[in-house]
């Protein structure tokens, strides 16, 4: 599966890059939310049973307890997603666990109307039953993998990389080490992050799917990708795939914050 990226321009005309969340991660987030909804309903029904037991069978209070249960379950079923999407800036607990977030098409956070529409149309998206077949078809055929509710609300779901902590020590090492090595000899030392962004992406794509490739084709492809890069660096590599791995790791390992 390749990573689908989308750009959204901010009012400052700076394009922001987002990763589109795929059907699989959204399904997992949905399962977590479903488990939580079930849990809430269980708690609610326990409370109601307790209240009914205290009030005694057949009493009018028991009727009220049951009525509260019926209304409560509808409120949980319909209100769970809107509540969290509004309170937690587009993240239900399941989405938060998987690093997903609902955004509006222009990259802005969801508002009340958007969350209302996307979660009511969920009633159609979840058909048949709770299997979300409609949503799946919609996500496959639309840009940005939107289900019908997203189309109606003008929203989409993005995957955010989990924030990493600063890696200051490593960087300090890089900086102090690089000038020293650079002056050492005629062979240019491998410098971190010397790939272009394009190359980095191509290599990332190759590394992600290499195990699914025919071994011969895999070697061949690694060679084809590595050749222009090696030529630019004026280097050689006995094993192109290993070279690609190392360069990619270097590009990934260099941090900013």
């Amino acid at each position: 599966m390749f990573v689908e990226k989308e750009r959204v321009e901010t009012p400052e005309h700076v394009p922001l890059e987002f990763e589109v969340a795929g059907p699989m991660s959204r399904a997992l987030a949905g399962l977590i939310d479903l488990a939580l909804i079930t849990l809430l309903l269980l708690v609610l029904s326990l409370l109601v049973l307790l209240a009914a037991a205290v009030a005694g069978l057949g009493s009018e209070l028991r009727q009220y307890a049951l009525a509260v249960f019926v209304l409560g379950s509808v409120a949980v079923f319909l209100g769970f997603h809107p509540f969290f999407e509004l309170r937690r800036n587009g993240q239900t607990p399941g989405k938060r666990a998987l690093g997903l977030r609902v955004l509006r098409q222009d990259g802005l956070p969801v508002d009340f109307r958007a969350t209302l529409v996307r979660n009511l149309v969920r009633l159609v998206d979840m058909q048949p039953g709770l299997l979300y077949g409609v949503a799946l078809v919609s996500m496959i055929v639309t840009r940005r993998a939107t289900r019908l509710g997203d189309l109606g609300a003008g929203t989409w779901v993005v995957r955010e990389r989990l924030e990493r902590e600063p890696r200051a020590p490593e960087r300090a090492e890089d900086e102090s080490g690089a000038p020293h090595l650079a002056g050492a000899g005629s062979v240019r030392p491998p410098r971190p992050g010397r790939l272009t962004e394009k190359e980095f992406e191509v290599i990332g794509g190759f590394l992600a799917r290499r195990y699914g490739l025919d071994p011969l084709r895999r070697r061949q492809l690694a060679g084809e990708i590595a050749r222009p890069i090696l030529e630019r660096f004026r280097e050689n590599a006995a094993e192109p795939e290993r070279f690609l791995e190392e360069e990619h790791a270097r590009g990934r390992g260099r941090g900013l914050l």
Partner: protein
Amino acid sequence: MNGDRVAGFERRNRAKWERFRRMASSFAKGSRPPPEEVLEFARLYRDVAADLSAARSLGAPPRTLREMNALVVLGHSVLYRERAVRTAGLGGGLLRFLLSEFPALVLSRGRLLALAVAFFALPALFAYLRVASDAGEIHRLFPSLEHVIRPDAQQGGRSIGAMPLFTSSILANNLMACFFTFASGILLGIGTAYILALNGILLGALAAHFANHGRLASFWPQVLPHGITELLAVFVSAEAGFLLAKALWRPGPWSRRDALVLAGREAARLLLGVAPLVVVSAVIEGYFTRSLEEDPPRNAFAVLVALAVAAWLLRAGADRTGAEPHGEGFPLTARLVP
């Protein structure tokens, strides 16, 4: 590669980025910033966004770009956040919405409302005529119905103790039905039309069934007192659903994608008014109808409800100031949250 320039660029700006990251993540968690920090934050945001552009054109390494991108995304989502919903004064706002804005909104899409009524009424009429001309037809239409509905049976009142449960079940069921009617509008309106027609057929066939037993006069008092608001709720939900459908059939000057979003935003306002209507009709059905034993007071009550609904809709129709203009632009200009 211009690695040195990139490194210098990073060194110069790292402190600023770090400060911005701290502020953004603390604001994202909901802490209220002092006013002077808001201005600083907004300035920093513009700076960091510009830095991201600069980093891109300098050819900074991918990981740097990714992290800067995440930083600007974080700031963007904090800065352009929707104003938090205040609960204070919400009651007054809701009342004003229900009394003037909502009816005006309903009438402003009168054609779609009429379409909803037609998709209900025509099948109802059709079913009535079919069952009235052939009494056996109802069993073919609804095989399971005959055991439940016996027109000649005396209306036995339920024990008043069951009313809360009865009312809440009706409420829950009708609310889901209304929302489903709306949601199916996104299937080109076909789902909405289908649900309307199904309910129309049910009502028409039942009315004819009672008529066949010569008890039509006792049918309406059972249906109308709560039915008027209930049907209005269904029709408005269908109107909202047809709004979505219209965006797909006839998107007008917009692309279908954009038309659908605009329609969705309008439909959301319509749906806000549906829920109170459903509540009102469930309470009527659960309490008022049951407490009125005889048919004449029930009919009188139904007339009262009808008049109230008509006055409510038409008064607001006279001045449509509350309705939003149809051509709502995309909300590109979001507000700054202090």
